[in-house]
Amino acid sequence: MTPAPRRPFLQRLGDRAEPWLYSAPALIVITAVMLVPLVVGISYAFRDVQILNPFSGGFVGLDHFRALAGDKAFRVALVNTFWWTVLTVLIQLLFGLILALLLDTPFRGRGIAQALVFLPWAVPTFLTGLNWAWLFNPTIGPLPHWLHALGLLAEPSNILSDPNLALWGPITAAVWWGIPFFAITLLAALQSIPSDLYEAAAIDGANPFQRFWSITLPFLAPVIAITVLLRTVWVANFTDLIIVMTGGGPADRTQTVASYIFTQAFKRLDFGYASAISLVLLFLLLAYALIILLLRQRLIDRDK
């Protein structure tokens, strides 16, 4: 067999370059606005960069990290980040799953009901934060009075200014805003379960709970796992609600690592310190991703 005649060099080059020509504009913008600042930001973590101080800019080595090790507010932020992320994701998942199951059964008016319960997702997050801050405000909102009437609050006060309860404010807002995301994702997964499985189970006399336990849940498990893993990262980094509702207060009791970065950069204009915290956050997220990958590998090995 003779090899196919080689096409002229320029034509081959053109063919090679074609996909790159299509994707170049997007890649250039991403590189310039995300990757370059990422690298520059990492370098700030080892420099003294303060906008208000014209003499700053020098190399300070690991000074920021030493300061960070003794920073009590940062330690509080680490603990807060854990509770904020875990509680938000789990409550969103629980209510999102129930909603998806409710919407999976056909009923009259399902389209409208679906549009209405998904609406919070379209509300801008800054407005979600303000809106819930107003609802928790006893002068203008009903929630403190209702919680008081239910005996959950000793007096109709604002939980956002109560150091022990403040974190529940942003969590409530985040749950309200994020339920649709879980519900939509899980609903899509539910609708891909073949219906003959249910029919067979019904013929075998399985009750609804057995059907949920042995058909629905195993089918949903991978989707739930992936969604929860990705959402955890996203919620951990999500600062809008905290910044709008409490600004990290009272006394740093709602400050998360991500909102602490913003506070340092935006309020103190201390870019060096903010970048050092960013680097720590990045390492924490990488460690999280690594643990997940290892866990996954273990599970796959076990299945073999």
């Binding site: 994707s23 995300m34 600042p37 990422l38």
Partner: protein, 274 residues
Amino acid sequence: MRAIGTLAHRLAILVYIAFALFPLFWLVKVSVTPNDLLYSEGIRLWPSRTTFEHFRFVLAHSDFPLFFRNSLIVSLATAFAATTLAGFAGYALSRFAFRGKLTVSGLLLVTQMFPLVMLVAPIFKLLSPLGLTNSLTGLVVVYVAFNVPFACFLMQSFFDGIPRDLEEAAMIDGASRFGAFRQIILPLTLPGIAATVGFVFTAAWSEMIFALMLISSNEKATFPVGLLSFVSKFSVDFGQMMAAGVLALIPACLFFLLIQRYLVQGLTAGAVKG
């Protein structure tokens, strides 16, 4: 037994709807409550008198129309620019098998995973000498970059849904690949393009962190920046604040209605982003 189950199901749906709508209902309620009734009827579900005074004030005597216009310009420009860039890149990802494709997809995915808040400081420092801080153009540039990766995945999934035979037939008939892309594929993807524009618009309309950091003057403030500074300055004018809040809700809800059909696709493509 069956009837009870059905009743419980409908009730549960109603509870969810009430929970979803209540905060928005309260926003609207306070925005139409006259000032003299604001505290005396603070926790009544609907005031005994309603007024549009707060809306009149906000529209006529405040900077909110300006903030609204700034946000509209930024969000529309971002939506169209990001969708254009993502359309090309998504097409490349959908139609070509090329060396480096996995790297490109991986790069796009990574940009969705790391905390954007860590870019606040370096982006401010890098844009400042270019004169792009306190500028709507600067905001658009930043927002386009943040939204392109997600929009790429979305556009790729729309292109994947269109059979390759179509443009292959056109290319056999003598069209160039770009010609086939422009004349055959793009028109078929129009609904997908509209959905992508809607998603990016909504994201840009909601963005607050970078707007707070980059914008320093009232003239350039987008809606979140204007609303938050209004709240910190006039924190007792609840009626006006909430009237402004209702205004911020309008475009987001319009786009929500537009993209509703594509919600599942959008959320799975941007599962990382939300």
